[in-house]
Amino acid sequence: MFRRLFIANRGEVAVRVARAARSLGISPICAVSEADRLAPWALAMDEVVCLGPGNPERSYLRAEATVQAALQTGCAAVHPGWGFLAENARFAALCQQHGLTFIGPSPALIDSMGLKWPSKQAARAAGLTLIPGSEGLLRDVDEAIQVAARVGYPVMVKADAGGGGRGMRHCSNEEELRQGFAQASAEATAAFGNGDLFLEKCLENGRHIEVQILGDRWGNVLHLFERECSIQRKHQKLIEESPSPALNNQQRQDLGRAAAQAAAAMNYVGAGTIEFLMDAKTGSLHFMEMNTRLQVEHGISECVTGIDIVREQIRVSAGEKLETQQADVSLQGHAIECRINAEDPNHDFRPTPGKLTQFEIPDNLGPGTVRVDTHVQQGDTIPPHYDSLMAKIIAHGKDRPEALETMRRALDGLQIEGVTSTTPLHQAVLISDEFQSGTYNTGSLPGWTPKR
């Protein structure tokens, strides 16, 4: 097992990885920026290496400096967390070239899953259903129109190299498609240097359901059932839960098995998530994309299965076999997560960094258990350069109602001052009829309207 692990990330995920590392007897060393150097969570690491100023381009995104830092501190492996360099195939190759074990899949797999169309091809070859649409990249707008006529409007044109919602256009008819095609391609070329587009039927008001996968290099693959992440704002997840209220037990087993088989077909090693979109009308589940990294919401899967995903990530990277077999993975109860961000939900979710004059999250109000994943404490200053996630509250109950009640109490008892937080939004969503009945979808944030 590695003796020293370099964490190429910050904040909440760095804390999470450090915890898993220590559970394996590994000493965690963390990259920090100047903005993070003196944060209590950084000081709690065994060592830190300062890579540069707060701006991530000059610190956390510096691939060669990260590798150098890891080598100089005698680390054997690098954990990229999520975001930053986590899905950067070149960084993974750089680590490999310099003798560092990159905690994640191979550079080639990161590459193929990083482009929309190659990942769809791989998924289809592995037996998953795709969203109806073009067969590969579109030659020109005329082909787009042909495909749209076949699958039916509304459609989405999407950039192959796209992400974060860019290079995409929603088109309800042929004229919008003509315009949208040109716009999406131009936007993608500008943003990603690659204007290739494909087309998908737009499954409106679908549900975002994803399956957590773990694989080792000995061919063992596990799924940890599904998570529902349909509560989103501008493609950013806000509330997640496991299992999904949209699936019955049979669908759950089938989906998990399909995802695990797909991962096995790709020889997937490490932790990954296969994302699906459920068609509101037919209930069918369509492959969207695969994320080859740890996800923010991994904690809810850990609660309901009892498996430490990050610990397993590290173990399989060291060549060990997965600790559990699929037959021994079962769902225990229900878990819900709320992402508490330092944002103002009443002002278009504008980030509000600042000093946390008060930060208390009660975790003992019952009836179920509460797990709080955070890197901040009262008195900390939230720096401006990074995402605004302060804490993840996970409520675990013996069933969904108990989990809901547990979360309600925790949110009610939350005390955050000094920055605005998204708590009011979470509270409103949680008590909404759609969320209570489990019939919500990606179409809207149920129960929430801004105050202004």
Binding site: A89, A93, L94, Q97, G99, P107, A108, D111, G193
Partner: protein, 575 residues
């Protein structure tokens, strides 16, 4: 430390070069590459559709069609010697591609060298330079240890020109000597016999390990036309030397098959019995990956005007996997860049010229012109070459060189000696090396950097290549030196004489300019192939895959114990 510390190289194209210049350069190259495409197409038509139709009428395939069927689906065929005999007339006749197609073809997952007589050009007969072209292809197969596949459909020598193709040291008979050499070296040879194979054509397949004949094929030392009594006995060449005779009676062929298609299928199955490629073993756990900066951008990165410089790092970045490179000895001899990159995950050595201004090691703070060779650059090349030889790393030479440094200092320092050391290293090395003439390939520089006389396995030219002993202007200066002053300006009073000298110099330059045409070089086999800039990466992938395919013919050290590590350890600055 025994890691191979590749690090990112190059920048995105809009940072490497301003878009206007890029567009202008790309357009200039595109124009030349259009000509290339047109000429390739012309060659591939052989003697024209009339002849192709004749072949089809006999229920046979043309040689290019045969090659297309042999190749694995979705793979590219890499032809060499396309322009041999380009622009040469034999009376009223031309011999496109010298009447034979030689190409790297992937068959059943194994790279092979296919040598196929062009049955649409004088029934596949041999012109002047046809034997040399075939021998060159055989040599490539031998050096790489990859199988040679002969698609024989050859009526012997093109008789009107026999004096130039029969008797000499490299004449047709030498093809069979090379057959023998390949066999002796353990290189598999497979022959398919598809048509009239007379005299030399009859001999071509025999030394091969497996010989397949179609029902229409015959092999004869001499055709029925020369056999007494053949007419009255109504004997045809097929009767004398068809499959009935050679498969069953003489044993000169192994298998008879009904037609072209079946024969090609049988050849594919035969190749599949050969050992699979060793390349996978030598990828050392890293899969093939494209360069991070798009190789297609090479089209706009090289200026057509050879006096304008560019950043060689940007070219190199677009030839190696993920645009990652380990530059060895970066601080010395900066007119040269050497180092290691992965190509499809396979380690390859690269040596390239750096143009523009470089630091003058002797005079602190001063700079001197790159693009030529000084002492340290030459020594760096020699040392790197020797390491690659020792370590079994295949090398790619990227030439854009005007020559050596000249003058008092250059001679005093002994560049003649340093250059000779490099020549010795290249001449005695066994590890595969490949040369690409990116742009200038001039004089001693062309020799030093493993030009054709040093027998690289393959030499490529681009449409920008200028190959000559010196640039036209230099030669003109040398020829008219007595009439020029210290600055090489015309130093003659009489205006008429001055005008004559100017005209003379101009004529000299133009003649050299014509000599430098890459198609002239290709026609004479002074270079193996002319390629588009955006094809370079694919060719280098071919070089890598073929270098590592055969596991047994050469030594290949595992990267941990490369001598390059010792070199790096001794030359990297102390912390």
């Amino acid at each position: 430390m025994a890691h191979i510390p590749l690090t990112p190289l190059g920048s995105p194209v809009d940072q490497a070069l301003d878009p206007k210049t890029f567009a202008r350069q790309a357009a200039s190259v595109a124009e030349r590459e259009l000509t290339l495409a047109e000429r390739r197409k012309k060659v591939s038509e052989g003697w024209g559709t009339k002849y192709a139709d004749r072949v089809h009428a006999k229920n046979k395939l043309t040689s290019r069609e045969r090659i297309a069927r042999l190749a694995d689906e979705g793979t590219e065929v890499f032809e060499v010697g396309t322009f041999v005999n380009h622009g040469v007339s034999f009376g009223k006749l031309a011999s496109p591609a010298a009447g034979v197609v030689t190409a790297f073809v992937k068959i059943s997952e194994r790279w092979t060298m296919v040598i196929a007589n062009d049955n649409t050009v004088a029934s596949g007969s041999w012109w002047p330079q046809t034997p040399e072209k075939i021998e060159r292809a055989q040599e490539m197969a031998k050096r790489l240890g990859i199988p040679a596949v002969y698609l024989v459909d050859c009526s012997g020598l093109f008789l009107p020109e026999q004096a130039r193709s029969f008797p000499g040291r490299t004449g047709a008979g030498h093809i069979f000597k090379k057959n023998a050499e390949l066999s002796a070296a353990g290189v598999p040879q497979i022959a398919g016999v598809f048509g009239d194979c007379i005299a030399g054509g009859g001999y071509m397949p025999i030394i091969s390990d497996r010989v397949f004949m179609t029902e229409q094929a015959y092999m004869v030392i001499a055709g029925a036309a020369l056999i007494k009594g053949a007419k009255s006995q109504k004997l045809s060449s097929l009767d004398i030397g068809g499959p009935e005779v050679h498969v069953h009676q003489s044993g000169c062929a192994d298998v008879r098959l009904p037609d072209d298609e079946t024969a090609l299928q049988a050849i594919r199955e035969e190749v599949a019995k050969l050992p699979s490629s060793g390349a996978e073993y030598h990828r050392h756990g890293m899969e093939a990956s494209a360069p991070f900066h798009d190789a297609a951008e090479l089209t706009g990165l090289l200026p057509a005007d050879h006096r304008v410089t560019y950043k060689i790092e940007e070219v190199l970045a677009r030839l190696v996997d993920r645009s990652m490179f380990w530059e060895v000895l970066p601080d010395r001899g900066q007119e040269i860049i050497v180092g290691i990159g992965r190509v499809n995950g396979l380690y390859m050595g690269f040596a390239a010229n750096r143009g523009g201004l470089i630091d003058d090691a002797e005079v602190r703070g001063a700079q001197k012109p790159g693009g030529i060779l000084y002492r340290e650059g030459i020594a760096k090349l020699t040392t790197f070459r020797r390491s690659c030889e020792d370590d079994g790393i295949p090398m790619v030479w990227l030439q854009d060189v005007s020559g050596f440094d000249i003058g008092v200092e250059a001679e005093r320092v002994g560049l003649l000696g340093y250059g000779s050391s490099l020549i010795y290293a290249n001449s005695t090395a066994k590890a595969p090396m490949f040369t690409v003439l990116l742009r200038k390939a001039s004089g001693a520089g062309y020799y030093a950097m493993a030009g054709m006389p040093y027998e690289p396995v393959v030499q490529l030219s681009t449409t920008l290549t200028r190959l000559a002993v010196m640039e036209g202007r230099t030669l003109a200066i040398a020829a008219f030196n007595t009439k020029l002053d210290d600055e090489f300006e015309i130093a003659v009073e009489d205006p008429e004489e001055a005008a004559a000298i100017e005209a003379g110099m101009k004529a000299t330059e133009e003649r050299i300019e014509a000599d430098m045409d890459p198609y002239s070089a290709a026609s004479q086999m002074d270079t193996d192939e002319i390629v588009r800039l955006d094809e370079l990466r694919a060719w280098i992938e071919l070089f890598a895959e073929t270098s590592y395919q055969s596991n047994t013919t050469r030594r290949t050290k595992n990267p941990r114990i490369w001598s390059l590590h010792d070199l790096a350890a001794l030359t990297e600055p102390h912390r």
